[in-house]
Symmetry: C2
Subunit: 420 residues, 2 copies
């Protein structure tokens, strides 16, 4: 992609009304911008990061048997009255309104009721269980205070998986499989070090749940966690029995530390509450009916993106992990339009595109070398490749990893090999 | 995919409250189901079709220089007051409501205002033009009568492209490029024979616009079109000067015919209305400011899916074009679980998966041969592959194209070659 044509320009100054580093850097870098408080527009760079996060999530969801669906946001009141959540969600976070005919509608802030109702069309017998469905879709929440940039929004992407089981034991097996296989892998692949943290279930369940928490000063949560890397036992302060500075009761070794953290995912045992409310029953081998046991499992892809920015940055900008970077390389040509260096850069750009290397090519004629380097650091692609009169004299190009202090001169062929 | 595990079951009976063939077949086949009037949930089969349509759209949008973005649905009132559409859209189709703090919000039924505002952050000079951005995203419209199944919904997918130009002549060039290159290709690739039809612009523009209309008895529109395949001149009845049975004034040859049709896309010349309202100006070479000239270009992917069903079906079910089919082949094993045929089918299934052939494998133990064949015709995958005691005696499998009357016995190796 030629940067001169890229939709979304870098900004020199921080946006005035953003406090959170993730929003400041993502807006300045041209990834997103604020549409209104708690609502962001995704520009091409931001959407490319989001697509990469979603692709990782899809792979891991499919690997544990998840089937992708897409549920609507518009919700009829009666569905949520069945579960008894119309009133409580309406008071808390659900946008509710009337259409032109006077019918009461809501915007889904979550989809347990819909998932249970959908499953009731496909689950009749124990042979239909277990079942795992997920979606990546936009949720709406009327948050009183939308803050922390992309971390707490009024409209935001959510991956929600729903699992359906014949009994609590089967839910338990899948609950830990989703935790150990899918969730851990997703966060690791996204470059996040997440703590599996015991927490309360909010309006979803009265049972104990688990959150995935990433330590960060930008977090809205507080967790107590065991510093022993072999243990990593953690509790959200809301329900904590651990004590800051105390010894971990789990491994009987590590020291408990308190830290601010960002919740990037959560998993819930829902039990039979939604199944019973929505009429989701199955017949066992003897034909006897039972309510289906459910679990739900959330990840906010936009929040993952924001958390990666919070935890992968320096004073100059973002430092994307390779797996999430919108482009692998930032190719920069120094020199006038008709210079030797510019012609060489054009050649290298064409070769990279041909080889399938995702490259952002800074071909902007009206920027100084300093502005280009500053923008490259701000946008934060893993590799910076510079072509200049100086590098051409040395018969090569300058290559540098974002975050490394030193660059080196290598041949163009060597660049292709390293980056691809 | 094993059909015994597939989320979304086929129904024997038509859903009671659906009149439109697209909704009846898509619901019976387990592709979608109605959440409420005008709102559908996408099950795995339906989402796979939708993903294939979206992939075609993305390819053709990118080929004409489109850059993908994602704009939010939640809208602040003041943005739409700038363009003067808050009131008129609110009276017609826009869901509008207050949040808990009393702030007035709307759900975007279209995104011209957002696109113009976004572009104003990235367009300063004539050098930044032209620019093309698009998104595939959910729109909301408070339709008084949501009917025709997936063709007219209250919540539906939309691909909307916005183009930005220095002058009307440049818009004109791109307008026809989008029509001749992108739009024609998209519909052809989706198996639709669409007429480029002159039409009025509704609330978007006072200028003349063009719709893409597919002839179908299920259509809500009426068009007059030239039957000469080299001409294909067409007008929507709303603005028509053509006369049914008359001679085409364009080619002076073909006979004008009237027909019901489905609008699957539209392209609008917006002029400078939205640019002026949203403060989108550029400086020309002399530094003089001008409003940017805009165009907008829509396609409803869900409506494309519904239109394909309306135009590709017989009395037994859907007949998907290869490019959109959720799976290429429907593999059916006849015989008990431990039969020779079943074991052979398992082998072929594994080989197909290994070869990357998208296959739906009917391994359901509790269905008769008749039920399986009926479901295969209903779901409508391009190839049906049957393994039975009979085909094994002939040392092969039975293969049939959906829509062909006759099947033939071929070797498994031959099946892989034909389908991949």
């Amino acid at each position: 992609m030629r940067q001169s044509r890229l939709f979304g320009k870098t900004l020199r100054e921080d946006p005035k009304d953003e406090v959170a580093a993730n929003a400041r850097l993502l807006e300045r870098g041209g990834f997103v911008y604020k549409s209104m408080a708690g609502v962001y527009e995704y520009l091409p760079l931001g959407l490319r990061v989001l697509d990469r996060i979603n692709a990782i999530i899809r792979e891991e969801m499919n690997a544990i048997g998840g089937q992708e669906v897409f549920f609507a946001a518009l919700q009829p009141k009666d569905r949520w009255e069945k579960s008894g959540r119309w009133k409580v969600l309406g008071e808390e976070v659900m946008y509710q309104f009337k259409d032109h005919s006077g019918r009461e509608l809501g915007l889904a802030s979550t989809h347990e009721e819909v998932a249970a109702e959908a499953a009731a069309r496909s689950i009749y017998s124990y042979k239909d269980l277990p079942l795992f469905i997920y979606q990546i879709q936009v949720k709406f929440r009327d948050e009183l205070r939308a803050k922390s940039g992309l971390m707490r929004g009024r409209e935001f992407f959510m991956k929600d998986l729903y699992s359906f089981h014949a009994d609590a034991a089967d839910l338990e097996r899948f609950y830990w499989k989703s935790a150990d296989r899918a969730y851990r892998k997703i966060f690791t692949r996204c470059g996040l070090d997440a703590y599996l943290t015991e927490a309360s279930g909010g309006t979803f369940t009265k049972e104990f749940t688990h959150e995935y928490q990433v330590l960060s000063g930008a977090g809205e949560d507080l967790i107590f966690y065991c510093a022993n890397p072999a243990c990593r036992y953690a509790q959200n302060r809301e329900i904590a029995t651990l004590q800051d500075g105390g010894r971990c009761p789990k491994c009987d070794d590590g020291k408990i530390t308190m830290g601010k953290s960002i919740e990037v995912g959560n998993i819930f045992r829902l039990g039979t509450r939604y199944a019973e409310a929505m009429g989701l029953f199955y017949a066992d081998k003897d034909g006897k009916k039972h309510p289906v046991v459910m679990g739900s499992y959330g990840i906010g892809p936009g929040r993952v993106m924001a958390t990666v920015v919070e935890t992968h940055r320096d004073e100059r900008g973002i430092m994307w992990p390779d797996a999430l970077a919108p482009y692998a390389a930032h190719l920069i040509a120094l020199g006038a339009d008709d210079s030797r260096a510019r012609k060489e850069a054009e050649k290298i750009y064409a070769q990279m595109e041909k080889k399938g290397i995702a490259v952002l090519y800074d071909d902007r004629a009206d920027k100084t070398a300093g502005e280009r380097f500053a923008d490259a650091d701000l946008i934060g692609l893993p590799w910076r490749v510079v072509v200049s009169e100086k590098t051409m004299e040395k018969k090569g190009v300058e290559i540098k990893r974002r975050g490394d202090a030193k660059s080196r001169i290598v041949s163009a062929a060597d660049v292709f090999k390293r980056i691809s």
